[in-house]
């Protein structure tokens, strides 16, 4: 054990200026992370922040922890090596919609499916900020940017659906403009044993201002945010509406129905509202919930909170167990055995005199 000294937020603030644009959503994320870390009971030297390239990826420079600002899209690979080499560390990957889903999409899939026990913060601002305003893989179709003067042609990715389909054991969404909720989610991610993927709605006030305004506006936020709570029905808009499951032909579909004011937990058409169960082993429902309110489904509210949190052995745990198994079966290897092990023969001095 290291120090008995109680850690505070100030222990995680690096010296030097933070260089994001004034008003950037990244500031709030940085502050929330610095607020949460000292409460986790982990010694400061055990934190390591690994990032790729982009505005979000400057994050490690602003943390007074171990940090590695790597190359575009590849943070998951470096973070995997850091974690496998030292399983005691709390390793955090900071990435963005371009870094994590475009150039680094491949690595994101594998980091998730292997359950590497990394904490992943994906700042989603639906734009390329550091290169000054081109459409990203989460930009809405038809978005006009400097490289899509007639509107972008790509269909957007939904980060949470992507993560859940890749086998995420923990997937959550929060909003940089809602620090209280964000800190709750960060704590839940830190407590999860396995890769924890968090999509953070983050406003780029320079190149994509207002992308998430409807989740924050006084008039619309109640009907646009579906806050998830384990064991509670999926209700929103002051518990006047909720989510029910319908079958559209063979296709399961989540739809919004109004709450029957006379009957608790039932919609006006008599349907039961879904009850949130993040521990459901089957990821189908979590996938459907992740899709709600996505760019391709703007009619519905977006789920905010922990969509999925299930137990599964981590890659590192299994790797170490295999090492122990090999040692118990074969004994701890020595270099001498390795070099001298196989089909050797000896040439004697006298034989060739």
């Amino acid at each position: 054990m290291t120090q008995a000294k109680e850690l505070t937020k100030a222990d995680f603030v690096s010296e030097g200026d933070v260089k994001w644009c004034p008003g950037c959503g990244d500031y709030a994320i940085l502050s929330s992370v610095q607020t949460v870390l000292p409460t986790l009971g982990i010694p400061k030297e055990k934190f390591c922040f690994v990032s790729g390239i982009g505005c979000s990826s400057r994050f490690p420079y602003y943390m007074d922890t171990y940090g590695f600002h790597t190359i575009h899209g590849r943070a998951p690979t470096v973070a995997s090596g850091v974690k496998l080499a030292n399983p005691d560390l709390s390793v955090w990957v900071v990435t963005g919609d371009g870094d994590g889903l475009s150039i680094g999409g491949n690595h994101t899939v594998h980091m998730i499916r292997r359950n590497m026990d990394l904490k992943v913060l994906l700042f989603n601002n639906r734009i390329y900020g550091l290169t000054k305003g081109q459409y990203s893989p989460t930009s809405e179709q038809g978005k006009v940017t400097k490289t899509s003067l007639y509107g972008s042609i790509d269909s957007p990715l939904n980060p949470l659906s992507f993560a859940i389909a890749s086998g995420a054991t923990f997937a959550a969404r929060t909003n940089a403009a809602n620090p209280k909720h964000m800190q709750e989610i960060l704590r839940a991610a830190a407590a999860h044993k396995g890769t924890a993927f968090i999509e953070i709605f983050q406003n780029c006030n320079i190149f994509n201002d207002g992308a998430f305004a409807k989740y924050l506006n006084k008039d619309t936020k109640a009907e646009e945010n579906l806050f998830l709570e384990e064991g509670k029905p999926l209700l929103f808009d002051g518990e006047t509406k909720g989510i029910v499951m319908n079958l559209d032909g063979n296709n399961p579909k989540l739809t919004v129905e109004e709450v029957d004011p006379d009957k608790a937990g039932v919609s006006k058409t008599g349907k039961k509202f879904l009850v949130h169960d993040p521990k459901n082993e089957d990821h189908t429902l979590a996938y459907l919930i992740s899709y709600l309110g996505s760019i391709s489904d703007p009619e519905n509210p977006a789920a905010m909170g922990v969509l999925r949190s299930v137990d599964k052995p981590t890659y590192g745990d299994v790797l170490n167990a295999q090492e122990e198994q090999a040692v118990s079966e074969k004994g701890k290897g020595s270099l001498k055995d390795l070099v001298y092990s196989k089909d050797t023969w000896t040439v004697k001095e006298t034989a060739n005199a």
Binding site: C48, Y66, I71, V78, V339, T344, N352
Partner: protein, 614 residues
């Protein structure tokens, strides 16, 4: 070369190539002949040659797989130029290999496989007498290997196909008889492999013996031969391929560095064996990580280096192209990681199973910015052990990525390895920093190596990254002064490695008419040519480079002691370009791009041409 000893003729050296369809078991046959010869006491050198396709259509030219072994009562350094014996299991194997058989050499073919259908597949007319053009200059033995094998296994209750599969053992037995080899080591090996399948074990042994007795019984072979034991340095030996030796070298380096070994890699021919080999060593504390691609392979290795492991990644040329951006990250973050490049034929996918030395300029210069990376090259299969340790030593002691170069010929070729006295291996000396009072991320020692402090160390928290930085503190700094300074420091740090290198070894006189300067797998051929030219009284010497970046400090003086510097390479002149530009020495190249190892006779002929011009 040969002396008559009643009915056994004594030979000094023999080169045999077994070839057939890729499913015919030729690699196994060759390996068995190798092990038997090594145990017998010959010096050996081998070179397998297989197709890029795992199982190309049966009987086709594309599907021919070969295994060449050179065994001798002398010390040898190559797998042999020309063949004394060619064993061809079908017409395609015959067609693709016959030109390598020397005058009066022995051709053994499996007569049963020379059917009209197989002849057509090999591009012959179905009733063509394909041996006729050769019969005057070689000795042709048509042996019904398939039929004889099936006959020998008549009493076995096995499918005909399974019986036929034993025909490689028949061929092996026959060559054992011709070269007076004992059968016991192969019998033991078969017993260990098929111990749980007694029927198959018995069938293979029966076929092996049938081949051996066939040679004995039939009078077609007038002579048998003996290749006596070689005068080999006393010691304990094992036969080893280059890739195996690299894997063991990394484990040894991990012990010398006192850091656990981490390998992050993606399978690629011909480097895959190293990852596979290390995967067996979990009980040595080796962590192997098969990543999702080449980039993730080196990325994870760099991450493990940041976390304090001895980090390696293994690949071939196309993988280097993908890893380049990460190699640069290791350059600027000054982290120790070894990138093993087992070269193959290029460009692009090129010739995945063939040998070349064409990645030298790529690993030296194929990155953006001024990006100095040390380069270490292995010269033979067993040499990979020491070269791999040397690459790791430089990485850790100088805090830098290092490229380790091998190639297909070294990687899959084998030779006896005189096992080292492990107590002579020197531990690595470096600053694994734990004291926050004296720590700064880019604080350097006299070799300009920076301090290595890893996550988990209290008080040494710091962030590194790909942006330019200021020295000592490591803080991001993009100023003109910082960039100029750091560029020069990175270059000087690599150059300083040369100050620690031992004097360069010269084979032969240190002054003379012609210096062969080489690197990598050409070592054996160049050495043999050098020794033979010296024996003819010519003033020829050899220098073979272990370190290509930085070059040894004494190299220039050595080169200037010769009237001519000749650089043989399996490329169009990559080391030549470096030597010429760096030293303004008019080095001449001997360059070959036909996917084959250099031939000794070619080297000798060309050296004489150069000498004639003097």
């Amino acid at each position: 070369m040969a002396t008559k000893d009643q009915d056994k003729e004594q030979l000094h050296s023999v080169t045999i190539r077994f070839c057939g369809d890729s499913g015919d078991g030729m690699q196994l046959t060759g390996t068995q002949f190798t092990n038997t010869s090594a145990l017998f006491g010959n010096d050996i050198s081998t070179y397998p040659n297989f197709p890029a396709e795992i199982r190309a259509p049966q009987g086709t030219l594309a599907g021919v797989s070969g295994f060449q072994i050179h065994f001798s009562s002398n010390n040898i350094h190559t797998a042999g130029d020309e063949l004394d014996v060619l064993v061809a299991m079908n017409p395609a194997a015959f067609k693709t290999n016959i030109e390598d058989l020397k005058q009066n050499g022995i051709l053994i073919v499996n007569e049963d496989a020379f059917t009209p259908n197989n002849l057509k597949k090999a591009g012959y007319i179905d009733d063509e007498d394909i041996f006729a053009p050769y019969e005057s200059r070689i000795r042709v033995y048509k042996v019904p290997i398939t039929k004889m094998t099936l006959t020998a296994l008549e009493d076995f209750d096995m499918m005909a196909k399974a019986k036929e599969r034993c025909k490689n053992m028949f061929a092996l037995g026959l060559t054992y008889w011709i070269y007076s080899r004992p059968l016991d080591s192969t019998e033991e090996w078969l017993a260990s492999k098929f111990g749980k399948k007694p029927e198959i074990l018995e069938a293979n042994i029966k076929a092996l013996k049938a081949g051996y007795h066939f040679g004995n019984t039939i009078e077609a072979f007038q002579n048998t031969y003996e290749v006596p034991e070689a005068k080999i340095q006393p010691g304990t030996y094992r036969n080893i391929t280059g890739n195996q030796a690299v894997a063991i070298g990394f484990v040894a380096a991990s012990e010398l560095a006192k850091r656990p070994l981490f390998i992050g890699s993606y399978p690629i021919t011909p480097a895959t064996d190293i990852l596979q080999e290390l995967s067996k060593y979990k009980n040595y504390g080796v962590k192997t990580f098969q990543a999702e691609d080449e980039i993730a392979g080196i990325g994870s290795a760099i991450g493990s280096a940041f976390s304090g492991h001895l980090a390696v990644t293994t690949t071939s040329g196309p993988g280097i192209a993908l890893k380049s951006e990460f190699m640069n990250l290791a350059v600027i973050t000054e982290l120790p990681v070894v990138i093993a490049d087992i070269q193959r034929g290029g460009p692009s996918t090129g010739l995945p199973t063939k040998t070349e030395q064409t990645d030298l300029l790529q690993v030296l210069y194929g990155r953006n910015g001024e990006s100095p990376i040390p380069v270490v090259a292995a010269k033979s299969p067993s040499d990979c052990f020491e070269a791999a340790i040397e690459a790791c030593r430089i990485a850790v002691e100088h805090m830098t990525p290092v490229v380790f170069l091998s190639d297909t010929q070294i990687a899959i070729g084998s030779e006896p390895w005189k096992l080292p006295d492990l107590s002579n291996l020197k531990e690595f000396e470096y600053d694994f920093h734990k004291d926050p009072e004296t720590f700064a991320p880019y604080k350097r020692n006299e070799l300009l190596a920076r301090q290595w402090a890893v996550p988990g160390t209290p008080g040494c928290e710091h962030t590194i990254g790909g942006l330019e930085k200021e020295d000592i503190t490591g803080k991001v700094n993009l100023s003109p002064e910082a960039h100029e300074h750091m560029t020069k420091v990175r270059a000087e740090k690599v150059q300083l490695i040369a100050s620690k290198l031992p004097a360069t070894e010269v084979l032969g006189e240190s002054k003379g008419d012609l210096l062969f300067l080489g690197w990598g797998s050409t070592y054996g051929a160049i050495r043999t040519a050098t020794e033979q030219l010296q024996a003819e009284g010519l003033k020829v010497s050899q220098v073979h480079l272990r370190h290509i970046n930085p070059l040894p400090n004494d190299l220039e003086e050595i080169m200037r002691g010769f009237k001519q510097v000749v650089i043989p390479e399996l490329n169009l002149g990559q080391l030549s370009m470096i030597i010429r530009s760096k030293f303004l020495i008019d080095a001449k190249g001997i360059n070959q791009m036909n996917t084959k190892p250099l031939s000794v006779s070619d080297l000798m002929a060309k050296a004489k041409e150069f000498l004639g011009e003097l």
